[in-house]
Amino acid sequence: MKSGGQVISTDVAIIGGGVVGCAVARRMALAGASVVLMEKAPDILDGASKGNSAILHTGFDAPVDSLEWQCVQNGHQEYLEIHKSLNLPLLKTGAMVAAWTEEEEARFPGILEKAHKNQVNDIRQLSQAEIHKLEPHLAGNVRAALYIPREYVIDPWSAPLAYLLQAIENGGQALFNAEVTAGGYDGEHWLLDTPQGQVRAKYVVNAAGLYGDIVDTRVLGDSEFVIKPRKGQFVVFDKAAGNLINSVILPVPTKITKGIVLFPTIFGNMMVGPTAEEQESRDDASVDTATLNALHEQALRMLPALKGIPVTATYAGIRSATEQPEYRIREEPERNWITLGGIRSTGLTAALGIARHVETLLKGFGAAFEKRQNPVVSRVPNLANHLSRDCHTPGYGEIVCHCEMVTDREIKAALSGKMPAGSLSGLKRRTRVTMGRCQGFYCSARLAELTEDKFETPLSVGEAHD
């Protein structure tokens, strides 16, 4: 870590290590720029990117002709191009928009029309027989359904990790515990203040997500948008439910939300969520009993076979929505600044597309970099349930987390290397340790030992003594 007094010079400074910041860092490093990413937390993914549905969207329901749609399409496409080389998984689930009522079914023509405008032409209506064949466990009273074959499920945490890792492998740098607190532009360079020292950059990309408006106000003096945090709670079911559905089951969307979704996860579970709850706090990802019960009941209504299947986990994520239903990209060519604001509910998919857009914008600002030749391509460990895991390669030492089959070799690897976990939650996202059924009942002791002295907030607060 850099000490307080020093100044790091770079071409592009990126504020925020969410999925968007990580994708921008990768893109610009590959484009040949020097990049420094500053993240206020001890690890990446401390904001909106911490908890999402992990669906790789096609953009069939995106605002027509919008930048969001463009970025979603480009992001989807690029993910498919690069995922194998980075060892990122892909679960080809497809999605089904299910209508349970006449009113819902009546909205199908509109959905189809929009999808076609959005160039998602493989969307189609399913027959009752097809619905039943594809999703035999769905509650029998589904009236009609649309099928979108290229809606997929991915690993929401390994993807951004892989992006940033590739940026670092190609000369980039990441600073943690590095909240940007102030900054100034001298007509040629930005000087940004962080507790880890100052960063001097030609270009700045604000990818601070839930804090995007605050950073703009702090550094530029004003913000063009206001973040309206919107929380989404989830319930994760036991892996025994993993094979009860094959595709992502989407309700017919309303204006406000895509609605409560049933979906398989790449880790072999099945989930229900997210809710859409407006709130003041940008950090409060708390869950509440009443909402969790309601989600649970709704899941059971849609999928009666879930009865009796235990719940593994509950969590919430916060969308960085704004007062308008669109991305809020601010371009300041005079000051070489870009703000990627309001990357609300599609950012996991769109990140690679947004990064591409940033590269184009910076070119427009006059930035000229020499594309990196033969860039390093680094693979991240696989956590997907349907592919071979570390425990399938002999010599792993022992399994630490039995529910998620996490080995101590895996944990030690995640604690070292170029992107070591900076917090316990960072370690969980990199390995899945304690994220299974027992939630640490069996492995907390071993995990506390393996992570002793590693994190600011450790599992163990000290020795046992009388």
């Binding site: 009796g308 425990c391 399994i399 939630q439 907390s444 030992e449």
Partner: protein, 320 residues
């Protein structure tokens, strides 16, 4: 994973806790040739390994032992009887005809057993599955995690937690706290009466931990670590109590995920594998014993006896 090796045995016992080990010993003593106990931990013995308190062993050995002493003793006895114990060996899949898939540091393999005994025990329900409101900071755990941290690693997850529940295990939890220098801020029970009467009353006054009945946990508050909890008493009045952890005790749930992911039938109410009087599962090759089939759960001695009883049924079955 192309060339998976397949081994065979007479009886495969999944789980090397009290019930699995007593069953294996009984099988050996009855002359069953190859009996292998598979346990995913590096050390056999099951839950007693980290119950650092007495009384264990009264029924089996006519003495009062601590959990770890008891665990060592039952493992030694099994070894003396010629039971093969494969450690760091996780059973990941149960299939028909007694086909098990195992993962170990040596690789993935298959074991074909004439009979299989599930003895995978029980655990407590975590916070998540209880749908408790609030943040998800560090410092929330079950008794099992607390005890293994304290007795196996000499570490503590908190210094002044709220204890939720008043089952027998909650009483053990208070003993563990006392031993580790942890001072719970309170012990709460949502019912009018504690689940077990005297030990908890005694414990609460003995350990100086206030017991609050008709009280439930409403919300957990914290950033990185637990900072406080909101609890509500019988009159619905809410109160915020500072603490640095929450210990969720009891509310046992069988560790039956292997069975749940397989072709075996489960009891829809308890989540335990469905068994007949002889501990036989819906697939007659499979049996189950110990706390994986007990709801409410039983003490180690009873699980030990359960292992013996079911092992005898397996012997009869194999010979008849």
């Amino acid at each position: 994973m192309t060339d998976i090796t397949t081994k065979t045995c007479d009886v495969a016992v999944i789980g090397g806790g009290p019930s699995g080990l007593s069953a294996a010993i009984t099988l050996k003593q009855a002359g069953v040739k190859s009996v292998v106990v598979l346990d995913r931990e590096a050390v056999a013995g099951g839950i007693p390994r980290h119950c650092g308190h007495p009384p264990f062993g009264l029924a089996e050995f006519k003495r009062i032992l601590t959990g770890p002493e008891y665990a060592k003793r039952i493992v030694k006895k099994a070894q003396q009887e010629g039971v093969e114990i494969a450690l760091k060996t996780t059973v990941v899949l149960l299939e028909k005809q007694g086909r098990l898939t195992l993962v170990s540091p040596d690789g993935t393999s298959q074991l074909l057993a004439k009979r299989v005994l599930l003895a995978t025990g029980t655990r407590e329900t975590p916070r998540s599955a209880r749908f408790v409101s609030g943040n998800r900071p560090i410092g929330i755990c079950n008794t099992g995690a607390l005890q293994s941290m304290v007795y196996l690693k000499n570490m503590v997850p908190f210094r002044s937690p709220l204890v939720v529940g008043t089952e027998i295990v909650s009483f053990s939890a208070l003993m563990t706290c006392k031993k580790a220098g942890i001072k719970p801020v309170a012990m709460i029970e949502q019912n009018t009466r504690p689940s077990v009467q005297w030990p908890v009353y005694y414990a609460a006054s003995f350990f100086g931990v206030p017991l609050r009945r008709k009280t439930r946990i409403v919300e957990i508050i914290g950033g990185n670590r637990v900072e406080s909890v909101i609890i509500a008493g019988g009159n619905g009045k809410e109160e915020k109590i500072p603490c640095d952890g929450v210990l969720f005790t009891g509310l046992f749930t069988p560790e039956s995920s292997l069975a749940r992911m397989s072709h075996l039938a489960l009891d829809p109410d308890t989540g335990c594998p469905l068994v007949d009087n002889n501990g036989r599962c819906s697939d007659p090759v499979y049996f189950a014993a110990g706390n994986v089939i007990f709801q409410p759960v039983k003490v180690a001695g009873k699980c030990w006896q359960s292992g013996i009883r079911i092992a005898r049924a397996i012997v009869d079955d194999l010979s008849g």
